[in-house]
Amino acid sequence: MSAPRTRTIGDTLLTVDRISLSFGGVKALTDVSFDIAKGEVRAIIGPNGAGKSSMLNCINGFYHPQQGSITYKSVKRSQMRPHEAAAQGIARTFQNIALFKGMSTLDNIMTGRNLRMKTGILAQALHFGPARAEEIEHRLAVERIIEFLEIEHIRKTPVGRLPYGLQKRVELGRALAAEPELLLLDEPMAGMNIEEKQDMCRFILDVNDEFGTTICLIEHDMGVVMDISDRVVVLDYGKKIGDGVPDEIKRNQTVIDAYLGVSH
């Protein structure tokens, strides 16, 4: 966070336009609009139950909003399934870690490359030949990620046995393996100690810097949010109550009242 960062923030990558989502009678999101620009770190904040995770679920196609639209890479999407969103370059991590517990770190990250692996099932059954070449090619890419995240030592460990912080890191690795254009991070630092948070911040900023990946994250730690994000959206009770650069948000009275507490 200390090094000067030189990046280009480009045009709009994704626009969320007046989205509403409800489950039965419960309104999770009401009329929310915002956009994410190419190359930026965009944060979504808000109290618990504000609809932040629901927002991410809408963006990657897991929930289908009843109203409103999402425009991604200038294509307006109607309903789509999560794997279609993934195919278009949207990857994510989860609030409650959603790793494949029975598989090793390596295999977990390899699954992140599944969209790029093309050999047919018969070739894979034979193994030798194209399937093997493809496997090795992607293994190289995965090893680069493993090195980047500094998790070489747990390569072959089943992820179910790893401590929480490392699991979060593996999950980030799995998302990165897809080489996404838009990376959605749902509370990447929840439950971590200071050092782990610092590591995670470093990884997020490095990803943003080195690969130019656009990042949209949900986070409760205000220090982190204000430090690493370019712009912040604030949700409360499913409505947007603030949007702007961190300094604006810090001064926004509605946000302070609703979220940070009046005494601030």
């Binding site: 897991f62 790793l99 029975g102 099932i121 894979q124 399937a131 093997r132």
Partner: protein, 358 residues
């Protein structure tokens, strides 16, 4: 002390991906295969080959198929007996209706038909999960039991309902004696087991496991649930179907639908559990256990009963066998839900360090 991997460095990812990365393992498995092909046929009795080795190998193949579905893809099936039956009857119908087909093709076609039916019965898995699916697979079991029993076309209208396998002619090699049958089955099972291992360690295998461990997350990282589940159903049913046609053609010779009833499904499921969910090698151990234990009990129980003055007839022995099976299943699940395969790998882990505790 002899089981050490020190000094064995992998210098490429290709080497690191090997099924048996440790040299001693490679030597051991090579020896086992060599003994199975070269020594067993000459040393074993005919009874041992035809009543123990052949059925165990075929059951192991079926267990591999079921394990792909249950252990790797996490879709519980109670209908694997039906898919064995489909393989058997499909191969039979190909054999009598298109007699010019070579035997190997007929058997593989049995697997292909089974795979196609497997896809059809896999479709519900796209909407339902877990126990609901398990019960749905029972539909396959009961429906096909009935179909092959009642609809005469499938059995070529044989009045007794029992059908006979054609002569086993593998490209001119007449498979007749127990030794020949054993070698034929061993060859087919070895090839298919290697293919299965390649699949589960490859890209599609990872997709299956991802669906098994967390289907929602799998979909979000781009795995198509339909593709992953239906390929698992297809591949699984193919293996089970081929096993079914081998069971009918090579092991039984003549058979009726009863050979593939729900008891067979449970037998396979237990073989998978005892051998180890998500392990190909475990399937062999599980199948051997499931096939050999009842034979052992048949021999061992009556004398034991005599000791306490209890004359056991055949029915009692089989009931007692049920009890022992039930207890063992529970025991295995409690002690090691990952079965014999996991116990084996724990043992190897210990051996690597022996004589030091850690």
């Amino acid at each position: 002390m002899f089981y050490r991997e020190a000094g064995q460095f992998k210098t490429s990812y290709g080497r690191d991906m090997a099924v048996f990365p440790i040299a001693q393992d490679r030597i051991a498995i090579g020896l086992i295969v060599a003994i199975a092909f070269l020594a067993v046929p000459f040393m074993a009795t005919e009874y041992f080959l035809s009543s123990i080795m052949v059925p165990t190998l075929i059951l192991a193949l079926a267990a591999i198929g079921l394990n792909i579905l249950v252990g790797y893809c996490g879709q519980v099936s109670l209908g694997s007996g039906a898919f064995m039956a489909i393989g058997a009857y499909a191969a039979y119908n190909f054999a009598i209706r298109v007699p010019e087909l070579p035997l190997l093709v007929t058997i593989l076609l049995g697997g292909v038909v089974s795979a196609m039916v497997g896809i059809a019965f896999g479709i519900p898995s796209l909407r339902i999960k877990g126990f609901y699916l398990a019960v749905a697979t029972l539909a396959a079991q009961f429906f096909f039991d009935w179909l092959f029993l009642r609809v005469g076309w499938f059995t070529n209208y044989t009045p007794s309902g029992s059908v006979n396998a054609p002569q086993l002619n593998v490209f001119g090699w007449i498979v007749n004696t127990p030794t020949e049958k054993y070698l034929f089955v061993l060859g087919v099972v070895c090839v298919l087991a290697v293919l299965a291992k390649n699949l589960v360690r490859g890209h599609v295998g990872r997709q299956w496991m991802a669906i098994r461990d967390m289907d929602i997350a799998a979909e979000i990282i781009g795995i198509r649930p339909m593709y992953a589940k239906l390929t698992a159903f297809a591949v699984s049913s193919f293996f089970v179907g081929v096993a079914g046609s081998l069971w009918a053609f090579v092991h039984l010779g003549s058979w009726e639908p009863l050979a593939f009833n729900i008891d067979r499904s449970f037998q396979l499921l237990f073989a998978v559990i005892i051998g180890g969910l998500g392990s190909i090698a475990g399937c062999f151990m599980g199948a051997a256990f499931m096939w050999i234990l009842p034979i052992f009990l048949d021999i061992a129980l009556p004398p034991l009963g005599e000791l306490v003055g209890w004359k056991m007839d055949k029915a009692t022995v089989s009931h007692f066998g049920f009890m022992i099976f039930g207890a063992l299943i529970v025991f295995f699940l409690i002690v090691e839900p990952h079965g014999l395969a996991r116990l084996w790998s724990i043992m190897k882990e210990k051996l690597r360090l022996w004589p030091f505790p850690y």
